[in-house]
Amino acid sequence: MVPYLLQLADNALILGHRLSEWCGHAPELETDIALANLALDLTGQARSLYQHAAELEGEGRTEDDLAYLRDASAFRHVLLVEQPNQDFAYTIVRQFIFDHFQHLLYTELLRSKDDWLRDFAARVIKEVRYHLPFSTSWLVRLGDGTPLSHQKTEQALTDLWPFSKELFHASPADLEAAHLGIGPDLDWMARLFEDATGPDLISAGLTPPTTDWFPKGGKTGIHSEHLGPLLAEMQFLPRAYPGCSW
């Protein structure tokens, strides 16, 4: 149960941190605030999940220990969420993929056999029901926008789409969760994902690449070169000043 919760929490925390990097730099003031809201929602999800995981683990660790004092190889998020922001098109494509995934995931978790996960899903799916139309409308706006915005979005999709497959590539924690009935069957969810994203991609005039190869390893702690610098920034304060408070 704890490894499964950490997977969910790490996805939310790392993507939340990536989105927070836009703070003060987004293309428009309104978009800046929107991305910060998204980042805060995800960080909030991560907090709940870490608190619960720490409690179940029973080793006296806190949510902060889990977020700030683990090294790169202990993180269990997918490679997609640690990919750099690059530009607004990349950020939107990454978000579009992740929001669709979370929407399906939390819809499935509403039927989880685990009481806590069911309650958690019921609470956060309301957030995701806002995130998904947000990223989808931007995907369509950019994909179906000017020749330049289309070209950048198509490029982002070409680069990031393969990462979407890792979301449905079951880790031992995923398999255990599915076996116990607390988590969804990822093969089934992969098909739902294809059905759900297809019409949006058509509206945006975008074609995802058809390659079968995809990068993986995040769920077992093998990360890309982008995670180190991210953690260095995110974990700097609690590591440099252990136990500090304000």
């Binding site: 428009e28 003031l29 309104e30 978009t31 605030i33 929107a34 139309p133 947000f134 409308s137 706006r141």
Partner: protein
Amino acid sequence: MEQEWPLWEVFIRSKNGLHHKHVGSLHATDAAMALTNARDVYTRRNEGVSIWVVPSTAIVASDPGTAEAYFEPAADKVYRHPTFFEVPDAVKHM
């Protein structure tokens, strides 16, 4: 070159039963984006249960130059305020 997005005025109803109140403005390319931007910019701290957005160009405003003619004559007409009536004891909630 760079073109600014159109301006929208935002009205929020803070509670059911209360009226929508002007809270500020924002930029957005279309009505749908104006609504989501309003949600993100103005309702993050539980401020509302309903949002209206209106293109700023749709608002007709009185000219500050006419303020004297429009509003000042009302200032010395106390008799327009219903403050000279005796309220009978039986009337409550006045």
